[in-house]
Symmetry: C2
Subunit: 541 residues, 2 copies
Amino acid sequence: MTTTVIQHVLGRLKDLGITDIFGVPGDFAFPINDAICTDKNIRWIGCCNELNAAYAADGYARIKGFGALCTTYGVGELSAICGIAGAYAENLPVFHLVGMPGLATMESRGKVHHTLGNGEFDLFYKMTEPVACARAIMTPENCASETERLIAAARYYRQPVYMAFPLDYANIQVLGKADPIPTPPSDPASLEAAVNAIVAMLSKAKTAIIMPGKITSRLGLQDQVAELINSSGLLYATIASDKTAVDETHPNFIGIWSGQLGIPDEAQTFVEGADCILGLGAYMTDLFFGIIDRSKTMNIELHSVRVGHSVFRSVQMADALAELTRRLPKRTDVKGPKPVGLGEPEGSDNDPITAQGLYPRWEKFLKPNDILIQETGSSTFPMISARMPKDSVIYNQLLWAAIGWATPAAFGAAIASPKRRLVLITGEGSHQMTAQEVGQFERYGLKPIIFVLNNNGYLIERVLCENPGIEYNDLAQWNYHLLPAALGCNGWFTARVTTCGELDAAIVTAESSKTGAYIEVVTKKYDSHPTIKLDVQVFLA
Amino acid sequence: MTTTVIQHVLGRLKDLGITDIFGVPGDFAFPINDAICTDKNIRWIGCCNELNAAYAADGYARIKGFGALCTTYGVGELSAICGIAGAYAENLPVFHLVGMPGLATMESRGKVHHTLGNGEFDLFYKMTEPVACARAIMTPENCASETERLIAAARYYRQPVYMAFPLDYANIQVLGKADPIPTPPSDPASLEAAVNAIVAMLSKAKTAIIMPGKITSRLGLQDQVAELINSSGLLYATIASDKTAVDETHPNFIGIWSGQLGIPDEAQTFVEGADCILGLGAYMTDLFFGIIDRSKTMNIELHSVRVGHSVFRSVQMADALAELTRRLPKRTDVKGPKPVGLGEPEGSDNDPITAQGLYPRWEKFLKPNDILIQETGSSTFPMISARMPKDSVIYNQLLWAAIGWATPAAFGAAIASPKRRLVLITGEGSHQMTAQEVGQFERYGLKPIIFVLNNNGYLIERVLCENPGIEYNDLAQWNYHLLPAALGCNGWFTARVTTCGELDAAIVTAESSKTGAYIEVVTKKYDSHPTIKLDVQVFLA
């Protein structure tokens, strides 16, 4: 049996654990679309548009390690590109399969549909360069080797890969063979020097803290991270974007550290006062780390280790974790604060829903093993401070911070992990961007619990901008609770709640609902939680 | 009184007739957002997301000649880029105002939100290069001159322009002054040679036909085109994408010519048998023009004239039209076919809605002065064949052909021309892409009539692909007629019609409705109109 170009690529994607490909079909992509739909071990997951497909693949990759989407030429790939950029920023290896016109068409330089009409056919390939770690136009001759090169790049950089398939090449038999490219090993001397440096700094430190990053679990290293924490006895905290990188119910967990954006608490004080901080792939943005002396921080990165101002190249994360676990003595003298969470919810019965009523309720609502997809916005900050139950995870997108990400990302996460309870918390402004994807949950038999916080505008912007009441912070006034029915989520539990009593009742119903649930939570326009301490000078510096 | 960078730019955009700017606010764009909202002569038009804002600006520019949108850095501008590319392909001068971080932030190369985290701040500016005819990062020093350069480029190329505003520069006083750059005049010798060549070819032609392009009306030359047709006595036809470039009720109009995609009819035969074809900015894609001998065709383009294989450079369209009107003798011997339209609608009462029942009804429903926004898809082809009433116009997007364009473009067109009746015809697959923008009509007091053709999937793809029933052509099953209420269009007339009788009744109600109207028209899965004669070999060649 022969293997075509597209079949070969799909086969290798399956080897990575990809069993679902998100996308929107299109004529130039028909060979890819056909190959996906006729492959028994891979599912075509139709999305409403390509941006949503990219966000869905992002959500999927957060859980499965890799994701994929398929779009058509020009119109499709450019619609997705903001989502691909997000995956690049947030270190998610998403394979972007793009159908392109046939070679003869491209050589004719014709005014072809889905082009700019100027006879140029390589523009979109060029435009994607900054947001892909590797790219190729797949042909029968290069398919075997390029597929391995691109997979190796996705594994190495943990960023998106772009693969274009000319219409007349996708179904041609692959020529030649290529072996998978092994992951580069650590340089033994560099590894030893790096681990020596970490051990030395830790041994001198009176107080030290580990900062595990979420990328460790995407690499399948979550057990190694837990082992290092257990064997070293060190305490750990996480940065907002790495929240739940390690279970928050572990006794060594002290809380979240939000750097310049955080509210001073015991965890903040402990982190900032520690003699040293050891990041394990921690997502060290300047916003968070700018206030800590670099000489006190270390970070084990994907392929290097930084200790203070020294960088040790060619050290693989898994090797560094293993060596540290072997060499670090167990400390028994550590003492730190306990994570506190959001406290008791305020209000009951007919009381309006305030921030202090809402967020503690959401915290209590979360259950072990939940997946919480948290949109960027005014609900981000309090939910970062919420205590997460055992084995539950929260995903957010704090670097790229594209509002609208969460709704389709939640869909992608649900496809990746259909048996876990999926909770989406989004503001209504963000939700408006990509809300149509709610209909896909029902189409694919998924039963999320969706909370849409309706505070009559972009609250996070009201907080940040000069004149909170200015018109651009206003939105079209939707009747959100009517949306699921319009989008085909027939029979879902939906509610619009304005009082604490209604919210409590809706949560009870949602918890026992056999269908998806969609709850519009109405609060006052300017009611923000005290954890939103956004200093504009810091945020926009 | 001082003028800031952003105030200066807004002032010049107003000079072009732009009174509304579409967009989504964002922190790096606050100075732009603020300046728009505080300017009494310009409106901020909030959109649900940036792609929709770009499509809305496209629809606006089709009517007003120029359009504008405002997005934030990275996440905003990349979300819009597919729509900007469409405006580029379709020759629509849309000003894309982008808020970017302040200079100090960019120089710090920090891991800033809305970036890729790699310290690079010029990537998005670079990515936009292929889809903008001119670009600038606006500073107090360059503002006066760059604004004129960019406006001149937008006028000259009729394509989008990209203007980025660093956060800390937007509100600084403009330094220096610059005069508007005049439009280049025609080269008198080239103009004379071009007109001589056209007159010579026409005088030798026994049968000739004019093909007016829609770009003439965007240049404000519609009266000159009509004058040329009247004074020359020549017949005219239009290509699908130029339909209604000149009123279809004019006695010299013979019909539409769809080239290789057309159904042979009298107009097709006449065009293809004519001794010469004179395009007036006709949108001559290869798909349409590939079958006609180039030596028989002429086209007056924006800044040049092509006669057969000869190109005359530096000839401005207005000058060529004026000269031709002066010099062409009036022909009285011309005879051609009459446009035929779609015929009488089939079916009544409880008959299901077939294509032959639907499209003739839509044709009859259209009224003088209507604006019809026509989505790309299975409804495109029959509606191209429909006869359009006096002073009505149809807009489509046949080169870029991004499905999803029509719903936001209709919103933009309605903002540009709120007093004319606006009709949107879209397929449901396209509608799902951008449907949330329906809520904006109500928010801004607009009352469109929207038809959503629900044929249970992407019908145009079922026609084109190998296996019409394949899964990727299926969609989430929405209850479309419930959507307006969910999106806040309270009290709109909505209906779901499955029989000819229901359709007739819904049309009657929509026509007299004081609110917006939204009608879901349900047809069979594979019921396509005979005008859809898509030869896959041609379409995907």
